[in-house]
Symmetry: C2
Subunit: 418 residues, 2 copies
Amino acid sequence: MEMRPFGRLTPVETARRRLLAAARPLRRTELLSVEFAFDRVAAASIRAPFPVPTFARTTWDGYALRSADTRGARRTSPSTLRVVGEVFAEQAFPGRVGPGEAVAIATGGAIPRGADAVVIFEEVDIDGREVRVKRPVKAGERIDRPGHDFPRGEILVHEGEELTATALGTIAACGVPKVSVYAQPTVAILPNGNELLAPGSRPGPGRIFESNNATLSAVVRAAGGLPRPEPPLPDDPDRIERALRVALETADVVLATGGSSVGERDHLPRILPRLGTLLFHGIAVRAGKPTLAVRAGSKLVVGLPGHPTSCLVNMYWLVIPALRKIAHRPGPGWTEGWAVLGSDAVAPTPGLATVVPLRFERGRAYTTYRGSSVITSLAGATAFAMLPPGRRVVRAGERIRVYHLDPPLGPVIRDAVA
Amino acid sequence: MEMRPFGRLTPVETARRRLLAAARPLRRTELLSVEFAFDRVAAASIRAPFPVPTFARTTWDGYALRSADTRGARRTSPSTLRVVGEVFAEQAFPGRVGPGEAVAIATGGAIPRGADAVVIFEEVDIDGREVRVKRPVKAGERIDRPGHDFPRGEILVHEGEELTATALGTIAACGVPKVSVYAQPTVAILPNGNELLAPGSRPGPGRIFESNNATLSAVVRAAGGLPRPEPPLPDDPDRIERALRVALETADVVLATGGSSVGERDHLPRILPRLGTLLFHGIAVRAGKPTLAVRAGSKLVVGLPGHPTSCLVNMYWLVIPALRKIAHRPGPGWTEGWAVLGSDAVAPTPGLATVVPLRFERGRAYTTYRGSSVITSLAGATAFAMLPPGRRVVRAGERIRVYHLDPPLGPVIRDAVA
């Protein structure tokens, strides 16, 4: 059983920065209807082609009138106006409001020519075709001028902005039917290893079910990418290389899981450098040392460890920040904070930084780690800590830097269901 | 211009509770591959059909041996074992490890019969087909027993749980290929009003672009529903009723926007009670008084105000909690908290509860409200307050109850781009 030792291990933060620097934001775009662009990233700034509203309007039910006609009006000596027509929201009043005249107007109606103010129904006395206004109405009262909501030419959405409900409503409100958004990066996932069984198979000694496709697909989706999970490949270097080359042609990012260490069955360290420029192989971290990455043109190929926890933890720490950059998403996919440890179960390996998955209980953080091969090492974890190399034990009660995952790996609130 | 006054207004909290009580969680399910079930809701609990691992294995590279053979081993008098074979991850060792024998074993390999411990490469001296073990190895050392990750029969996912990356990884790790999830509720959106222009049309006096389709589609998606926006309908009661009845047959929730007040063009208050049981019409809130809802069998029909801000605010406060219940999602779609007001711009209407959209700046909350017809009233808002009726002014510096929206209406961090 041949083993080649790792060369000098790359510090985990160096590896993260190298991968991030090598990531190229996608330039491919898609044109989507505003109704279907939620949570996508605008590929161009959008300026208002019209002011909104496009016309002077009222947002009340009442009477449009000439304010001069109400000068000096009082409860005891009201101004009496003749109602000469009515305006519903969609209509332009065909005539002009003359002296002594008023036009009934509904919410959203365009102010008729001649009128310069609106008085609401509740403030007048109505008597057949006449209304009595009992106070002076100011010019402009109850009227929204064109551009009151926003003027023509205003930037409604900036390039790179994630499209929220109100951003999309604002675009729609000035009649823009479609919005150009950045394409979502496609991420091919190629598990490899003779021991891997596809879901649904019968297990046997030495054979394990492939599960990295499921976890990686989920976090790719959460980071704004489109996962393309593929069936497990056997430990055949030619087949693996062929599959990686096909994936590189059709996907923006290629992830291979397993076969990334230094054993004789670990083919990725020989194959990946033939696909591009090696960024690192072997990182000074527990769990997840056997990780490597190359830049191939504008694309990235990452070999992740096969162990479920090592794989997912490195995906979060190394790959997701790069993938978010490719997808034009802000931030690394986590939020930094501080937490107090609830127990001192943590004993890092000398010389390696240590990833500690954490769950929170009554405001304190507890490790969920049970070993790198154990998927339940991450059950309930909503954050992780990255302890620097050389540190040995962190005691209960100590304050440590933590990274809250968004979305969390596990449920924030566990059901109490038995 | 005929107006029928509202009857007694329903308090906003009563309206919210009535709609929530009338909502029926969907029973329809879908069967999805684990790779494509992220963020969906499990429709049934899933128990592990196998223990994981299914066999005793090691997670190290080393030698499987009989611990009894190393009893009394020391650096100065090591136990010498004969290497009789090797085990890669996917293989079962065909023979049995006898006394004085060892088998080379790779990470993930099944422990051969006869062996009861593993010693790692780094701890032995290797000399051709012999290894020298320099300390006693304990029975069980470096071995994960079957079920170490989780035992057979363990509940991996509970009915009603939102499927995270690790939940899906855990399911996949025991070979379950597909997961039953609740269907996403379909939500038909029917804007109505003669004044509404479809996006892309030319504007004119009195005509406004329909924008509620864009905002409601976004928040429906965020709540786990599938929006089905439809083109604007004119103020024709027969066409509106026909469209609502068709929508009711094919969607789980029907939203109509506009035409929900008491004017002669407001047809929804006459149509909706013919479709089901009226839950309320007219709620004691500013903005958004003209809102009504009926229960039609197991479905809901809600008439929302046409004004963009009134529409979206009532969608959040009244409809989203009900929609999340239908979609089996936990919580109302917001998180309660406290905030200190940064300015006292807020002056609620007597007799009506007041919705105040809020943005945060240096830890203080500021209203973004500029009127119910103004879509930019919600720009940058990430939370809202619901001030009780009767309250008149809230001063800067006062602490108020707020509801943080998830996801926020506007961007949390505004770009500084000019």
